[in-house]
Amino acid sequence: MSKIKIVNLQKSFGDFTAVKNSNLTINDKEFFVLLGPSGCGKTTTLRMIAGLELPTSGEIYLGDEEVGMLRASERDIAFVFQLFALYPHMNVKNNLSFPLKMQGYTRSEIKTRVEEAAKLLRIDHILNSNISSLSGGDRQRVALGRALVRRPKAFLMDEPLGTLDAEFRELMCLELKKLHIDIGATTVYVTHDQLEAMSLADRIAVMDGGEILQADEPSVIYNKPATKFVASFIGSPGMNFISIDQGISNEQSTLNIEGTNFNIPKQYEISKGKKNSFGIRPENLSLTNEGGLKGSVFGVEYLGSRKIVTVKTNFGEIKVKTDISTSVKINENVQVKPSNDNIIIFDGETDKSLKSEFMN
């Protein structure tokens, strides 16, 4: 296994730039997730690491070797496709041994390795089955098996759970995580599903518009998003934003919105312009009778352990995650205020979060 490093990686298709000047370092044995909406360049980045696309410029290091311009077959990586891409004209055993046959292993070595992988993935009882007779989960396991028989330098996975139904996806998620812990393989995993990303990843890189916006541990991505996009994309529901028409100065620790003063974490950065936004996650807000933003209840969603109350204010709809005991009626007048200082100010010009006592 080895670490993966991409330096100033760029990929254009004609006029369209799919990946812009990206830099990343994926550590050895790390489970790294590329997360973003469709068309954000995450799959293109993965395919460049795999060698299925050649970069327009930039370098890709696999271990210490620069592999950017090598063919896929020369890179010693494994790839799990979203649609599995199991060879339909071969049975499970032949699918698993297909990568080994090319590398000149003896028949008995191939047999041992295939059986080893099959045992690990609990598919040893279906080795002689046809691909077409397998269930989605078994196909997924065979696809994983084909990737790991070769003991490659890294695993690349392109939304491998995307076609499974929800119940199965959770199960496979657990299995994947366990497998990763067992074999400790460097893994790059592409998904648009934030829950999948959060539960699997050691670190996540959030991408949008071909750029890597933030690469960090899931809790940091969630709590301290680097940009407004990351803040809104991660979390369900996403972060609330309140536009404020005032600049932020150094050491500022209160903010006046609609005549009410709110405490904010002490700011360490001056905003570029006068149009900024105030971001706060729904669980860091509470409903109150006074001293908050005025609004009326627009909707209540019951989530079992929590309720999400949507409050219509002059600043748009604000979502508040409240206790199950909170009872509010539609159109009731309420006020919303922060319950702690997990507050982030986003610069209106750069969309980046400003440094503060909280965002340090």
Partner: protein, 314 residues
């Protein structure tokens, strides 16, 4: 109301109607073919008798005549010969003739085999490679090229017979197996490229990407992963190519005389005494029909099988 029957299922009346139409059509199609097979088992007289004989005494005379050259001899000469050793010698002698040697039919038949299968293989092989390239790569002017390839089928091939005749004379390709294989391949290739491109487009490119990641080159991936999955398309294309080059008559008449003459121009020229030897012609066409029939039956299971059998979820 009868709810046991699905509304997607045709009613029993429409099923019966469909069956009737198919049976009538099949019978109409089979009449000339069965007439041909019947003729091959008649003797020279009953083949041309009027009104036509539907019930007749079967004879293998046509087949014997097809494979042999014979000459008429006087009764005295025939009597002086030793007794016939085989049933076909006996049959020939009963017509007051002796066998003077094998006919050219077997040679022409094997020419047809070599040229037919040779050009079918070449068309499918080259067609598959071209179709793959058109399907997967960013070929400059792809659409124009595809249209250009198709445009070679917009006129009847025989329209260019004269230039091809002259070209083949100059190149020394006239009356050669290679020349005929090239000619039929060129005619079939446009069809092969178009048919196979459709099938190649259906095969997800992830398969060969997976194979390339598994350490295979693109060409290896093509042969090991793409071709096996394109078998349906290859079978269909091969049948079309085979039928064309097997049955082709006009170019065969024009360009071949001795070495590479195929069966189609040969069979109608089988002349017996006093005109065409219809039973022999019937026998020749019956035997000529067999290879294409067997070839189609062998490949039929590929035609009926689905393209991708469930390894990719769509």
């Amino acid at each position: 109301m009868d709810t046991s029957r699905s509304y997607l299922e045709p009613s029993s009346f429409s099923k019966k109607l469909a069956a009737t139409i198919i049976i009538v059509y099949t019978v109409i199609t089979l009449i000339p073919i069965s007439w041909m097979v019947m003729t091959s088992f008649k003797n020279v007289n009953s083949a041309i008798s009027y009104p036509p004989e539907v019930l007749f005494e079967p004879s293998l005379e046509g087949y014997v005549n097809l494979f042999t050259n014979r000459s008429r001899q006087s009764q005295e000469y025939l009597d002086s010969l030793p007794a016939p050793e085989t049933w076909y010698e006996e049959l020939v002698r009963s017509r007051e003739m002796v066998i003077t040697g094998p006919s050219k039919f077997l040679g022409r038949y094997s020419n047809s085999m070599i040229i037919g299968f040779g050009s079918t293989f070449a068309s499918v092989f080259l067609g598959a490679l071209a179709a793959y390239a058109f399907s997967r790569f960013r070929v400059p002017l792809k659409d124009d090229l595809l249209f250009f390839i198709l445009s070679t089928r917009m006129f009847p091939p025989i329209a260019v017979a004269v230039p091809i005749f002259i070209m083949y004379r100059k190149l020394g390709l006239g009356d050669t197996h290679l020349g005929m294989i090239i000619l039929y391949t060129v005619v079939n290739l446009s069809l092969a490229v178009w048919l196979l491109k459709g099938f190649m487009d259906e095969i997800p490119k992830e398969y060969e990407e997976a194979a390339m990641i598994d350490g295979y080159s693109r060409l290896q991936a093509f042969f090991k992963v793409v071709l096996p999955q394109a078998m349906t398309g290859i079978a269909a294309t091969a049948i079309f190519c085979m039928i064309f080059s097997w049955n082709e008559y006009a170019f065969a008449v024009l360009l071949t005389q001795f070495n590479a003459q195929t069966a189609p121009p040969f069979i109608p020229t089988i002349i017996g005494e006093g005109g065409l030897d219809w039973p022999a012609i019937g026998a020749g066409t019956t035997l000529f029909l067999l290879p294409v029939m067997i070839f189609t039956i062998i490949l039929r299971k590929h035609l009926l099988r689905g393209i991708t059998f469930g390894a990719v979820r769509k």
